[in-house]
Amino acid sequence: MEKTMDLTLKVWRQKSANSTGTFETYGVKDVSEGSSFLEMLDTLSEDLVEKGKEPVAFDHDCREGICGSCSMTINGIPHGPEKATTACQLHMRHFHDGQTITIEPWRAKPFPVIKDLVVDRSPFDRIIQSGGFITSRAGSAVDANAIPINKATADYAMDAAACIGCGACVAACPNASAMLFTGAKASHMNSLPQGKAEKDRRTLAMVTTMDGEGFGGCTNVGECEAACPKSISLDMIAQLNRDYATAQLKNFFKPVA
């Protein structure tokens, strides 16, 4: 039979964006070690509902580590202690009976709290809207094999494109920098032949939007890479810096957009 555990949870509760939040302490009993972290929170929710209290609000959807919805800092680490694991894929066997667990929302100025553990991550969408695309109207594409792409390039683009847009990189960074997120998307598209035409324009637009949204600069701390549930490499930031410098230089002599 599966082992169970009793836990003490210190959870950030905040009624709305405009109210001040506070930690509340709750106990949960008989959590099975095979449960996921979010199923443990479901148990807490049902307990609270039973008592007529509002459950803890948190973002979640696919619960298989790919949609990027779940976003909570567990004992000080975005997505919790397991490496390369989203909160929804974190299982309770990594915790022990009697443990106290602190659960907070992402803490970053560009991601204001809306309620409890739910934050507004729309700045990420706006970074993509400003340039994180390769323009190709439906119907205008050439045959898919018309442009061969060497395997190493395709694999590199895929490594970059694996980002799930959860925002853990921002939450982990002492500067709340979005360089890993922006670097991953820019590197994905800038590295592919299809993406070359808009490369400079894209890079400048995405970085400008990123700065405008209030994200901090990168000072090479590396917390983002450590917290990333998809192990996106710091190389993406280096790539973005290179692409940005090149684009700026070109733009100085002849505007790229």
């Binding site: 099975s32 509902v49 459950p55 993509i128 809207q129 695309f133 594409a141 395709a154």
Partner: protein, 647 residues
């Protein structure tokens, strides 16, 4: 109810091109006068919203997630089919069409499926142009893999994350249009009802899930791309938020619901571990290439394994029942999804199931590791083994994996004609939300194909055709000031107030679980007349109980997950009853629908083409009134109906 399928005249291979030529066009300078609402931002919705905006229409797109990038299309693993024939192995539009019709157990509409196969190549071109990093060979050309139900290699993939990459491609195209102001994006907004004016769909009522505000949105056409209804089972591989509300609300406003009993149960999921579980996780079907599926022959041995008193590795060869190899010697462990799933259920029903709940069978790699070595197996399935270990804590190299079937796709949905228009003029339905292409069973790697086909290449034409037919004089004429909007909004508000006012003792999740239990037991892998009749009674009782004993804590003024779930569960309960009625009506077994009364002597599905070669379309007639069945006959002119055999 008018079920004119509007299949164009002419030979199958010319229908779509001649239909495109005959369509009404809208002058580019007039397109900006029209507005279109798209509900859902997955492959179908995201691609449709982006493409319609590229053409110049004003689009409003709605999703319940905090970003359009999170739609559940993102979770698809395996791949996307296309009849490119890059492998020179005999693929063609006609072969993809044929495989899909056969895979659907001859319950899909020929003309739609042919068109799907026809545009499949364009989808791959479009995705590559968008920057989707598909797997490639060293020569730089696209790689393919093979998949169930086909003898050619036509599946394109991006590692085990094909859905993610395709969705992010559509999301980037959509984002560009949002940035340009051509698409107005509404994140965290849930559609709660459809507004009709003079019989035509003219808008929706939505709830802003962050603020609780109800708002009205008017348009010249509405596209629903709101996904499937797998969460009626409570436990499924769907995301937590997936629901039937938008589709079911439209059904209540007059849209026909087709074949709701067609659901697909995937055989290789990780078993349920306890009563707190919230979702099931799929393991790729490819594992069945090397893993051998078995259950103990003896129920007592199974009981010992469940208690942890017997190590499955110590069970002697003679005491193991490799039941798929025994029953289907020529296909063995690679028998199709529906057949494999039912066989696992049978073993567990006989008390021979493993896992802590008794609902599991083994998928054992012992022999494969002995034969090929651990290194080779790791190269083939390493990521899947890691995923399994992450979730279960067991090491599948040492102890056999445990699997059990789970719901993961629904073939039924809102009825649509060849133009993907529902029985409500002006309301179109794309992707998993419609019923059109997969018949009674979907083949692997075909869901992504259908979503993008609808979104990039079909809806942008057919919605434009509808708008052109209505004429530019109608563009933007209906506004949210029309009394129909006030009336529907008042209905929506009254319903929310009612949820909050019931003041009972049972949570929405608890009702959802009870609903799921009834549907899984009686309308799951094996269905019977008696069971379905009982389920309909049970669901009616559950509905009464729901409306008298529901407890929704909190208020309607902001994020309230309890309120959101209450609305979805209310619709799921009614929808579940419709599913059972459909399953009861369909006195045959086909694809994912297995009626125990209709099987061959050796337990295989028995189709009845004479009496059931039709799509069953239900019309809503009122609460507590039996819905009315309409039939669209399925006429096969190009494919010969045959029995599937895997012996």
């Amino acid at each position: 109810m008018n079920l004119d399928s509007k299949i164009p005249e002419g030979p199958l291979s010319e229908k779509w091109s001649s239909h495109k030529f005959n369509m009404k066009l809208v002058n580019p300078s007039n397109r900006r006068k029209y507005s279109v609402i798209v509900v859902g931002s997955g492959l179908a919705g995201g691609a449709a919203a982006a493409s319609l905006a590229e053409q110049g229409y004003n689009v409003s797109c709605f999703c319940y997630q905090d970003s359009p990038r999170r739609a559940h299309s993102i979770a698809a693993q395996g791949g996307i089919n296309a009849s490119k024939n890059y492998q020179n192995d005999g693929d063609s539009v006609h072969r993809l069409f044929y495989d899909t019709v056969k895979g659907g157990d001859y319950r899909a509409r020929e003309a739609n499926v042919y068109r799907l196969a026809e545009v499949s190549s364009d989808i791959i071109d479009q995705c590559v142009a968008n920057g989707v990093p598909f797997a490639r060979e060293y020569g730089g050309l696209l790689a393919n893999r093979s998949f169930g139900g086909a003898q050619v290699s036509r599946t394109f993939y991006a590692r085990g994350q094909t859905g993610q990459q395709l969705l992010l491609g559509a999301y980037s195209a959509l984002s560009k249009q949002i940035g340009l102001g051509k698409v107005k994006m509404f994140n965290r907004h849930e559609m709660l009802d459809l507004v009709k004016v003079d019989g035509h769909a003219k808008g929706i009522i939505v709830r802003n899930m962050a603020t609780g505000e109800l708002t009205r949105h008017a348009s010249d056409a509405v596209v629903l791309a709101t996904g499937g209804y797998g969460n009626v089972f409570f436990l499924s591989t769907n995301a937590q938020g997936c629901n039937v509300t938008a589709a079911y609300r439209a059904h209540k406003r007059g849209a026909g619901m087709a074949n709701p009993c067609y659901t697909q149960i995937h055989p290789t999921c990780i078993p349920v571990h306890g009563d707190k579980q919230s979702k099931l996780t799929l393991m790729s079907e490819s594992l069945r290439n090397d893993g051998r599926i078995w259950a103990p022959k003896d129920a007592e041995v199974a009981a010992m394994i469940r208690k942890g008193e017997t190590d499955p590795n110590t069970v002697a060869e003679d005491d193991r029942d490799y039941y798929l190899e025994r029953k289907y010697p020529s296909f063995g462990n690679l028998a199709p999804r529906d057949i494999s799933s039912r066989a696992a259920k049978e073993a567990c029903d006989e008390g021979r199931g493993v896992a802590s709940t008794g609902l599991g069978v083994f998928l054992d790699f012992r022999d494969a590791i002995k034969r090929d070595g651990q290194k080779t197996i790791k190269e083939r399935y390493g990521n899947l083994f890691d995923m399994y270990q992450c979730i279960t804590g067991d090491n599948p190299y040492e102890t056999p994996m445990m699997i059990f079937p789970a719901v993961h796709y629904t073939m039924g949905g809102l009825w649509v004609d060849y133009n993907l228009q529902s029985t409500i003029p002006g309301m179109f339905v794309g992707g998993e939300a419609n019923f059109s292409d997969h018949g009674a069973n979907r083949l692997g790697a075909s869901a992504l194909m259908q979503g993008l086909s609808d979104g990039y290449f079909i809806l942008p034409y057919t919605v434009g055709n509808y708008l052109g037919e209505q004429g530019v004089a109608t563009a933007g004429k209906v506004t949210t000031e029309h009394p129909a909007f006030a009336e529907v909004e008042a209905n929506v508000k009254a319903r929310i107030d009612k949820f909050l006012a019931i003041g009972g003792t049972e949570s929405p999740r608890s009702f959802h679980k009870r609903l799921g239990h009834i549907i899984w037991e009686q309308c799951g892998m094996a269905r019977s007349k008696e069971g379905l009749e009982g389920a309909i009674k049970d669901l009616q009782a559950l509905r009464k109980e729901f409306w008298t004993n529901l407890r929704v804590v909190g208020d309607a003024d902001g994020i309230n997950p309890e309120l959101e779930r209450a609305g979805r569960v209310a619709d799921f309960i009614e929808f579940g009853e419709l599913m059972c009625r459909d399953a009861l009506m369909r006195e045959e077994s086909c694809g994912g629908h297995f009626r125990v009364e209709h099987q061959t002597e050796d337990g295989e599905a028995l189709r009845d083409d004479e009496n059931f070669a039709f799509a069953g379309v239900w019309e809503y007639m009122g609460d507590d009134v039996e819905p009315q069945l309409h039939k669209e006959s399925l006429i096969y002119e190009n494919v010969k109906l045959a029995t599937r055999s895997y012996k």
